[in-house]
Point group: D3
Chain length 183, copies 6
């Protein structure tokens, strides 16, 4: 699993949740997690969550830390389990900063303000996960919290620690899988 922080600002429009987006744009081949910073502005047409699309919900945040994960396996159940673990990794990294964060499914909340948006889905050849964390939260459509309020100043360092934690989590799962006998 490869890890990359992209130093260029990229606005997230939902179009980045696409197979091979990481490979096409950054030359990283195979299972990977990348992070970058940018606005989030996902029109209803680009949303892959049918419930949100039905409610004409949209996603807006002036500045977010984005994670895009691609696994070359198109099992949707597994993709959602992995998304949950990525969310847990973010929560646990925030706990290092003594941020009192709550998780509800794939959402993170701090003091009842929603910190994150997230989705997991599949293409014909891979599974894809997006997580966005508010850095700044002026103008967000619901009550939110943001990394800037929570004392996370070095967003890049934070992102790298989250990605490393996720990478290690999956490595440990693989090792656990290889150590156990059937019954």
């Amino acid at each position: 699993m490869k890890v990359l922080f992209i130093d260029k600002k990229i606005d997230y429009l939902g179009t980045q949740l696409a197979p091979h987006w990481i490979y096409r744009n950054f030359g990283v081949l195979g299972d990977a997690v990348v992070a970058f910073v940018g606005e989030a502005d996902v029109p209803a047409d680009n949303m892959v969550d049918i419930a949100d699309a039905l409610e004409k919900a949209f996603i807006y945040s002036p500045l977010m830390l984005h994670f895009i994960v691609e696994h070359f396996n198109n099992n949707l159940d597994l993709a959602i389990y992995r998304q949950r673990l990525l969310i847990v990794c973010i929560k646990e990294e925030l706990e290092q900063f003594e941020v009192p964060v709550r998780r509800l499914g794939d959402d993170l909340y701090v003091n009842k303000g929603k910190l994150s948006v997230s989705i997991a889905t599949v293409s014909a050849v891979s599974s894809l996960i997006h997580v966005g964390l508010n850095i700044d939260n002026q103008g967000t459509p619901v009550k939110t919290s943001a990394l800037s309020e929570l004392g996370i100043r070095d967003v890049k360092a934070f992102a790298e620690k989250v990605m490393l934690r996720y990478k290690r989590e999956l490595e440990q799962i693989y090792e656990a899988r290889c150590k156990v006998r059937g019954i």
Copy 2:
């Protein structure tokens, strides 16, 4: 997914990590999570973790809260993802009691004392998970922590909340899976 707290004391010897143990003993058919209280004394021969077996490690605790989960699906990777989420559910329930708990893979620590043991494996027809949490920890072979020290007095109520949390987690994952379109 069915949920059951068994009010009878049962000592955990590793033999309970067996297909249909829940059904044979408690008549609960299908995917289920059960909890009970008892000693833990797993001889090396009953251990399914090869690394532990090689090190002649054994598991001993005078009193533990045990969870046994059986899913009728024999995908070992998925079983380990589910085990991780069960561990996360326990951690998050402990956070309701303001217990500062850390997770490392499938282990939980409080103040560097190991609170838990856990394993996930598969049979020909199902996957099985065991988690044990020390209630008391006299005579444990490593430095441990225990629910009794952490202010968890009503172990049954705690167990039921954990099981409900796990059940809801899996329901939310199923709902998420059904709401998302492919890309």
Copy 3:
């Protein structure tokens, strides 16, 4: 598995065989079977059976009882086995009315008149089944039979019994799966 009879007349054009059609239109989330009554008029372009499309066959019936099933599992083989069982459930429900019905694969015949059309396919996230049973059969392109001739007056009650039968069938299969040991 959720079950719903939709009391509104809906003409079947093939466009209803789409992922999340049930959820988008009726708010029913997850594995489900729904039934409704309406014309069937599927142009060759909407047909998912390549053999039919090649033959420029089309489906027309002035009034049909339609079933749409969605399972959130995209295994096409399993989808076809489930389609066969749904067809068997319809046959067995008709037998309650002493209708002498024959099954050939996924087709039902009464006195050599074709009673049904059916297809099963997959999307990226789910599998979908359509079955249509003639209620009336004026103007159908082949020799057909129809529920109205067979003494099935209360089409809604019939549909609900078929759906319940299918739901129970799948529940029994799940229970059988959970009761058996490997060898």
Copy 4:
């Protein structure tokens, strides 16, 4: 899929439900269905249905027509769907003889007498199905019906038609699978 009627009397003890039993004894390699005639006397220890084993149920019939199916695929869900279709094939063949047979899951009844026993399970390399149909039913532990009462005189011819029907059913499912486009 290969088809074989074995002309030798073989008593069914449950030990025949084993991987490669067909290949080891009759040299038939690969997916196959075989049939033979013999007593059925399965002690509780050989039963693979946990529910039956718990109830100390046993299977006894003085003379049965037995089918053993082996598919070299170890998906238990699929095995149970196939078992259901084999039971449906037997029901439909009986309908050719105007026998009014009812199916409940994997059981067949004629005039409230149980005609059949059946089980499906998996080994590490394959799935296995057994179906037994009473030919004679003196001394059976529950109320039963039997082929001899139902006008099925030529048991071998009946068995061969059932096996052919099952083979065709699976071929049609394969063809249906190959004809359909995704959506």
Copy 5:
């Protein structure tokens, strides 16, 4: 698995790598391998290899022997293993002609001239493989070799031997799978 040599010249544009192309055009239903002769001229837009598409590579050859394989199974990993074995079958057939051929992944080289192009991919319902072997190689964009130089005069006979070899290879794999016990 069906085998067909198509005696009509067909230029390969990449559009033939499509689900049911074989069935729609030649009426061959189910898993199949077909071969034909024609130009190869695949524009970048039709390429399914992202690396090639990114490099604006294209495929051109004045005359190639083409193989198209369709398996009704949409496991991409398995599709690539099968593609490798088809390439190995071609290499081994060339060895019958004492052609010193080297394989690198899915490419074949003779005297450092590239003999082949190949790709494997999946649709929602099947997996597809294309292999093209230069018959003639005037105007190819890289250094190539060609069957005409290698003493393969009867291209149709060669194609039929390759297809037979591939068919047998898969049959042997199936037989091996059915002969082995689990451990």
Copy 6:
């Protein structure tokens, strides 16, 4: 995928084809290929090929180069495809030495002498492959060839090249899988 040549002589009795044998004995965790040198003497009871066991065949060779591969994936079909590719890797490495080797399924022949024995199977948690190549061939039960006759003097270097070739082959397959778009 880890690669290890074991410098200690180990006689192959069939017992080494066991899950976690590599991990238990050499501490190598996860997917791995190891090689070692030793006698081969597999009694019929240890044979996992039913055909060989039925024929009371046994395997004997005074000195063989052995490969044991374990992949933590229990798909038997995939295991056999991988076994075929390992055999191809051995053939292609022998071609570097200008040895005219023929492959028939999973067997290698040089001048009609059988060079190899091989089997692939699965356990509940993994798949396992054994390949043995005669180094010396006195006393073998069939006509054989041996590496010592073929100019392969440095057996360890040869083994390491084969293992590297296999490792690269699987890496290339993974990369190919990650580069291709669905259709």
